[in-house]
């Protein structure tokens, strides 16, 4: 076979591998119990080669998971060398420092065999709604309070489940049947992917993946380097101050473009805090590189080669490289801000390709209350969670997206589903006029959410909201996005973080922040201003005041 034909065949196999991991992700979503996995798609699924290199990732999934898992697989292989793995083995951990940064993310890695030989490893990483402990809020003082820690260990050995582990797991969580169902679904999705892989190797008359993996890594590395080489060389710094748990936190980054590599150094970033918003280095890397790849090399499929030219370092003990046993449960609050910080650096190098800051941190509303009197299970406690997104930052040639999850990409649950699974009423979920930062390109709009118990009884919120004191910053003359707000309908302001009570008869009101604007508002096209006023995205007063528009 000629070299060109061989290459062609390798490309066909590459397409096939991406389809196999997508099947893996879809199987997972369809069999999972956690709303976070099944409804929100808060998961990742991927294939690794025997060196632990990420070869293919599913289209469905979140950046925080996949890139964290990409870094974590080597830990599995260090403890359980490939040569010792047998068919039917499955490995598990939720160690935040080895994989995705908090205990709620459980990773299962399974060897895939072909003709009796190990040829690759399939991994899934999923967000469990419950892992015991305090729940997924920032209130823990150390990782010990945040739930059950599962060290890197065998979940199954030669097809036999580790019943001891499952017993410990089931006793430590509030919803044991669901958690058990989830863990079993991770195994079956990895197993079905392994069967597909073996069938594919047979079809292409290959013994293993080695040459294909090399090709994928080399190609992706070369393509990424070529994109980096087009960028201006140099070093740029930026900083971002966010609310933090009870005091503001400043994140600092220096981005260096040097030849075919990019280095991000978080030197100067504030120290970690005794509340669960700290970020482990794996997760910090995951979102940093995601932000870079969105701008620099979005077309290159995500894998080891595509990630390699990006280096991320952070001082030990800083809030983006926290050490054991500091608490980490709500690490997304800071992790999801990292693309904005990276954009701040990149915008100085390539201003015409970089969006402004957005609301960025997902507003995950976690409520706890009691089933209403006179109904089945009256008095039992319940937990409900639903996701809400604010506005994304204005983009170089487009306005920001309203009520859209960037960078997380997770889906919101339907209101009707949420109200069917918990005795709450979401009274409002509506875009907020004037919440998008003004500018030639306007920031995306945030939204207002109002929620209460169906019977008006008291309930609690595990708040972990951001950009309440520190809005998304505009760029090049664009305005800031609106700040977030957490309050009661009766008027009292509430904290943006921590467990708090909403009294009987009251409602919780959340204003989810807007994205920032880009460029001077006075440069915005008049027809866009007129449309914004007509649609109620911008009030007539704001149009007149900021855009110099007489409409309205």
């Amino acid at each position: 076979m000629t070299a060109a034909l061989n290459e062609l065949r390798t490309q066909v196999i590459w397409t096939r591998l991406i389809s196999i991991v997508e099947e893996q992700a879809q199987t997972l979503m369809r069999t999972a119990f956690s709303t976070t996995v099944r409804d929100a798609g808060d998961l990742s699924a991927a294939l690794f080669d025997l060196q632990g290199r990420l070869i293919a990732e599913a289209v469905t999934g979140t950046p925080g998971h996949v890139n964290s898992m990409a870094a974590g697989v080597r830990h599995f292989l260090a403890k359980f060398p490939v040569a010792t793995m047998a068919e039917g083995d499955h490995f598990i951990t939720n160690d935040p420092w080895l994989t995705a940064g908090h205990l709620h993310d459980v990773t299962v890695l399974s060897p895939a065999f072909h003709q009796g030989r190990i040829v690759g490893l399939f991994g899934v990483c999923c967000h469990q709604v419950d892992i015991g402990g305090l729940g997924q809020g920032p209130d823990g003082r150390s990782v010990f309070e945040e739930g059950l820690q599962i060290p890197l260990m065998k979940l199954a050995s030669r097809g036999v489940l580790n019943q001891d582990l499952l017993d410990i797991l089931c006793l430590n969580v509030r919803t044991p049947l669901q958690v058990r169902g989830d863990v079993l679904s991770y195994i079956s999705s990895n197993e079905s992917a392994a069967r597909r892989l073996s069938a594919m190797l047979a079809e292409f008359r290959l013994e293993d993946l080695a040459s294909v993996a090399d090709y994928i890594v080399d190609r992706s590395l070369a393509a990424t380097r070529a994109e980096i080489a087009k960028l201006p060389q140099g070093s740029w710094t930026s900083s971002l101050t966010i609310d933090g748990y009870d005091h503001p936190i400043t994140l600092r980054a220096r981005l260096t473009i040097e030849g075919e590599r990019i280095l991000v150094d978080y030197q100067g970033t504030d120290a970690c805090v005794p509340r669960g918003i700290n970020v482990v280095l794996n997760y910090c890397r995951a979102y940093t590189i995601f932000g870079l790849r969105c701008v620099i090399s979005p077309e290159v499929p995500n894998n080891y080669g595509a990630l390699l030219p990006f280096e991320v370092v952070a001082p030990e003990g800083s809030i983006v490289n926290v050490q054991r046993p500091w608490p980490v449960a709500a690490r997304h609050v800071i992790g999801q801000m990292l693309p904005d910080l990276v954009f701040g650096c990149l915008s100085q190098a390539i201003p015409d390709r970089v969006p402004a800051e957005g609301s960025s941190c997902l507003w995950s509303v976690q409520l706890r209350g009691r089933q209403p009197a006179g109904e089945p299970q009256a008095g039992d406690s319940f937990d409900a969670i639903f996701f809400n997104s604010g506005g994304s930052g204005a983009r170089p040639r487009q306005d920001g997206l309203s009520g859209t999850a960037f960078p997380s990409g997770v889906r919101a649950m339907p209101v009707e589903i949420t109200e069917n699974s918990a005795p709450i009423v979401i009274w409002r979920k509506e875009l907020l006029t004037d919440s998008g930062g003004i500018g030639e390109r306007r920031g995306g709009l945030g939204q207002r959410v109002e929620v209460a118990m169906r019977d008006g009884s008291a309930f609690e919120v595990l708040a972990m909201f951001e950009r309440v004191d520190h809005p998304a910053q505009g760029r090049d003359g664009g305005g800031d996005g609106s700040q977030g707000s957490v309050r009661l309908a009766s008027g009292k302001a509430m904290q943006a973080k921590g467990l708090q009570q909403i009294p009987a008869g009251d409602r919780l009101i959340l204003d989810i922040p807007g994205g920032a604007g880009l460029g001077a508002a006075t440069s915005r096209a008049a027809d866009l201003v007129a449309r914004d006023v007509e649609e109620g995205f911008v009030s007539a007063e704001a149009a007149a005041r900021f855009y110099g528009s007489g409409v309205g």
Partner: protein
């Protein structure tokens, strides 16, 4: 434009007409006894009925049949679909629950493309200023939390009258559980805005999940006046021509309905053409006596893949219209309607090949369409397409393409491929690459689609139709391990033929959440019986006196899961002893779908469906024919085989020259006027009693 006649497989009494108006062509089929006449005309956008009536006249003349002798006219149209995609509906407003006017804009709040910073969400059909919230609220159990503010509805009506609104969607939260507020609001609007079209979410799509329900209701409202006017105009003109038979409309679900029902819920028509294709494939499967099928329809710009199980095209409850972004899921408007489940991807004869910045050869989703078309057409297209690759591989004879109507320039194909610039610019290698990538893309789509449906592709037959499918079907089958490929005749007008094979049917769905171990049987039976009565009345109106077949389906999941799976339940009054039967049916369906173990968790039923239809189409009995005669091969040509990458000597056979029982050993090309069937070296072909080509995988030696 053209008209062909061939032997049809079925002989019902009287003449029957199927008419499929698509985006480019209007296909008409007339069946008279055992004969089939068909024609393809360009669609007349300004008045779609013109091409339809012209084609009908043409075929009636050709067959010597008078309109009064026609016993059935079945019509499918993309009118509603195009109006939705091109935003050409009537001025429409949305009346909704206060606090929820932005449900359509928020959607799922997610991004369908993780890395694309420039992505845009689908724009709602109704702009924000026309989406008005009024005070009212139901809870999830259908109990009133806030009464409807009638004055607010009147105020909205006054504003909309000023604004020239012709159609209003009424969509309140939890109206699937209690529709009284929607109905009251409709009464007020009908009084305040005489003549306005009203679409209620509790009628159009009475199911949980507000984004999908609101989106469906708004889409219905947006096209209702257009479709209503068109259908009645067409009906009148047919009557004026002397037709005495009823006019039926093809539904997205694969069933037929009356003009009145179609005009009321036009959103159910959006996938009528593809549904006709699926019914066509199912009828071919019935003729062949195979139950488990993958249907592949490849045209110029897209490929559609549908699974047929036990002879029935798979159906689903959600469809996305107008996927803008590389056919990505989430980039279109969701419609919750009964629809033949299929995956559509940007892969067809006109799909353009390119090299991405990772040096990978990519094919589609952009298409050169028919204008400018592939480079070989010489109409200004310079970018290489799948058709150019097929020509370069030697699969298409340039002098006989499209019956000789289009002269192909093989040199232009060669040059366009070489210009891709990789692999030393070797056009033949690149042609293999384009063919392999497009086949792999289609195979991947089929595989992921099967997983999403909880199905497998093992042991299925492939039925391939549409202009480009026979060229790629064998390789597609090889990639999926499929051992039998069926290439029916009449494949160019498959949808219109499918219309004539469809039952008159109606499907209804309602949300009612019940745990299987705590069934409220009185409530459930009364819900199901009510649905049955409504569906039976609609079918009786369409097929008076015909026998009716009823199926009931439950969608359930383990409590705590996010996706329901369907399973059939008895179509009769349920009794307490049925609970075990329902649980067992669910567990069987679950195991089939996901393999794995059944779980010790409560089972929760969410949605109940009733389908009533006239009996399914039955193929005519034919003498069994087996492959007995080898066709004499007088011509051969070199064709490159993508599996080995080398040119082999392919036998060249004309399909018209083959008779039932004739057999051709692969590798071979079987040519016909509209397309060519590639019989790869791993397949043999023969013609069955219906005139279909059957490709069978040779046992590995």
């Amino acid at each position: 434009m053209t008209s062909t006649t061939d032997r049809g497989p079925s002989t019902p009494k009287g003449a029957r007409i199927g008419a499929d108006i698509g985006g480019t062509f209007t296909d008409i089929v007339l069946e008279v006894g055992d004969r089939r006449h068909s024609t393809k005309l360009l669609t007349t956008y300004d008045a779609p009925e013109r091409a339809l009536l012209d084609g009908v006249r043409l075929l009636l003349d050709e067959a010597g049949v008078a309109p009064a002798e026609v016993s059935l006219v079945v019509h499918g149209t993309t009118l509603a679909t195009n109006a939705l995609i091109e935003r050409r509906g009537v001025p429409t407003a949305l009346l909704t629950t206060e606090g929820f006017r932005d449900v359509l804009a928020l959607g799922s709040e997610s991004r369908f493309d993780q890395y694309d910073i420039g992505m845009e969400k689908p724009q709602p059909l109704v702009p924000r200023r026309l989406r008005v919230g009024v005070a009212e609220r139901m809870d999830a159990r259908g109990q009133v939390l806030v009464p409807l503010d009638g004055d607010a509805v009147r105020a909205a009506a006054a504003q909309w009258r000023e604004q020239g609104i012709r159609s209003v969607a009424i969509a309140f939260l939890h109206s699937y559980a209690n529709d009284s507020h929607e109905r009251r609001a409709a009464e007020i609007l009908a009084a305040e805005m005489p003549g306005v079209s009203l679409s209620l979410s509790s009628e159009v799509s009475p199911e949980m999940r507000e984004y999908e329900r609101f989106s469906t209701t708004v889409a219905n409202a947006y096209v209702q006046p257009l479709v209503d006017a068109y259908l009645h105009r067409l009906d009148d003109k047919l009557k004026a021509m002397g037709f005495g038979c009823p006019l039926y409309l093809m539904l997205s679900s694969g069933g037929l309905t009356t003009v009145e029902a179609a005009a009321r819920y036009p959103v159910r028509l959006v996938e009528s053409g593809p549904a006709g294709g699926a019914i066509f494939a199912a009828s071919v499967a019935a003729e062949r006596g195979v139950g488990q099928v993958v249907a592949l329809d490849v045209g110029g710009t897209t490929a559609k893949i549908c699974l047929i199980n036990d002879g029935m095209p798979q159906t689903s409850q959600v469809f996305e219209v107008g996927r803008a972004h590389r056919f990505r899921k989430g980039s279109g408007l969701p419609l919750r309607i009964p629809v033949v489940e299929m995956v559509e991807i940007g892969a067809g004869g006109g799909s353009i090949a390119s090299v991405d910045n990772a040096g990978r050869l990519a094919v589609g989703p952009h298409s050169a369409g028919s204008e400018p078309g592939p480079a070989a057409y010489g109409r200004g297209g310079t970018r290489p397409t799948v058709t150019d690759a097929d020509i370069t591989l030697g699969r298409i004879d340039p002098s006989r393409f499209a019956g000789g109507k289009v002269t192909l320039n093989a040199g232009a194909s060669h040059d366009a491929l070489a210009a891709l610039g990789i692999w030393d610019g070797k056009a033949e290698t690149l042609a293999i690459g384009v063919s392999e990538i497009v086949d792999e893309t289609m195979a991947s789509a089929a595989r992921v689609h099967a997983v999403e449906q909880g199905m497998t592709l093992d042991d299925r037959s492939l039925i391939a139709f549409g202009g480009a499918a026979p060229l790629h079907a064998a390789r597609f089958a090889e990639k999926l391990g499929i051992r039998e490929v069926i290439i029916p005749s009449g494949a160019g007008v498959g949808s219109a033929i499918g219309f004539l094979r469809a039952p008159v049917s109606y499907e209804m769905a309602r949300s009612l959440t019940l745990r299987l171990d705590q069934l409220d049987l009185d409530r459930l039976n009364s819900l199901l019986d009510g649905m049955t009565a409504e569906a039976r009345a609609l079918v009786e109106a369409g097929a008076p006196g015909a026998a009716q077949v009823e199926r009931r389906t439950c969608l359930a999941r383990y409590k705590g899961q996010g996706y329901e799976i369907p399973f059939e339940i008895p179509a009769r009054t349920l009794v307490p002893e049925d609970v075990d039967l329902l649980r067992a049916a669910f567990e069987t369906a679950y195991r089939t779908q996901y393999g794995g173990v059944t779980l010790d968790l409560p089972i929760e039923a969410l949605i109940w469906r009733v389908t009533v239809g006239s009996p399914a189409w039955k193929p005519k009995d034919r003498a069994v024919v087996t492959a007995t005669r080898d066709v004499e091969v007088t011509q051969r040509r070199p064709v490159i085989d993508p599996d080995s990458g080398v040119a082999l000597s392919f036998a060249l056979v004309r399909r018209e020259a083959m008779r039932p029982g004739d057999r051709v050993q692969g590798p071979a090309l079987i040519t016909e006027r509209e397309t060519t069937t590639v019989v790869s070296p791993r397949f043999d072909a023969w013609m069955d009693a219906n005139g279909y080509l059957i490709l069978t995988r040779r046992e590995e030696g």
